[in-house]
Symmetry: C2
Subunit: 163 residues, 2 copies
């Protein structure tokens, strides 16, 4: 632990990136809908059925994720069908893959059955399984124990008893 953590009570978490992310995807169903989006699901009914949730929940989450910009509602038309709308990942949504990969990886390691995990993510070029790794901006691999938390440029300090 470094010294900065001793003044942890002076940190405001008002602009915490983790908390802000969780305001968007902080429910179980939102994360599972994002999982399905990465599996390729696009249509309303498929989201509800494959995530295993009711239609009201699917409707609410899809609307929130669309409003937050992780998904976009795009029109499509199958031959002989009326125009319908599909929910597809935006760049903001695709950028969410590392979160899901990290969740999957932790579950694979600590909560999987003996047979192994049901799905694997692979590298398109070589077919090898993909995992998440921590790396520093100088290009070093960072084992989990070699990372430490530091104050960032946006840190707001408050008197120890303020919100």
């Amino acid at each position: 632990m470094n010294d900065l953590l001793k003044e942890r009570d002076a940190w405001s978490m008002a602009n915490c990136s983790i908390a802000r992310t969780l305001e968007i995807v902080g429910t179980r169903t939102a994360l599972l809908i994002m999982r399905e989006a990465f599996f390729g699901t696009r249509r309303f009914d498929d989201f509800a059925k494959r995530v295993g949730i009711g239609e009201p929940a699917a409707s609410t989450r899809l609307k929130e994720l669309t409003a937050a910009g992780l998904l976009e509602r795009v029109p499509y038309q199958e031959p002989g069908q009326r125009t319908r709308y599909a929910y597809q990942l935006t760049q903001k949504g695709r950028d969410f893959l590392p979160v899901l990969s990290a969740l999957r990886q932790w579950g694979d390691t600590w909560a999987a059955d003996e047979q192994g995990p049901p799905v694997v993510v692979r590298h398109e070029n070589c077919g090898a399984p993909v995992h998440v790794a921590l790396r520093c901006d100088d290009g070093h691999d960072v084992p989990i124990g070699d990372a430490f938390v530091d104050a960032g440029p946006g840190l707001i300090r408050v008197s120890p008893d303020s919100p």
Copy 2:
């Protein structure tokens, strides 16, 4: 998208690693408590205060995370004080860092203020900021678009209308 995804409806998600992980840390408060644990928080009251939640919520989550094995309750004694208990990360809990890093990174990219993020994770050896990266088991860096989902060894196939 690969062909396997066309049979997505035949996949059972009964043993989905993401869903299993979310059964343990699928609430906003559980994830924020894990964040605090990585910041170095150990004591009950500090968790409640720093996460900004009530004591009942802190109690429930700490109990769940302890039961799930991400935290352990260890006795400690400050001089002249009675024995108390601290909640500290186990290996299973420390292994959760990539999830929080990924959430933080997404928030830093897509939801941060102009000043930048409040906290930075750094590499102990060189001080450079740490980020999460996708890499395949052959050692290649994997851009987000170059990853695809494939069936894993534990995949359970069901008739398309079963749970």
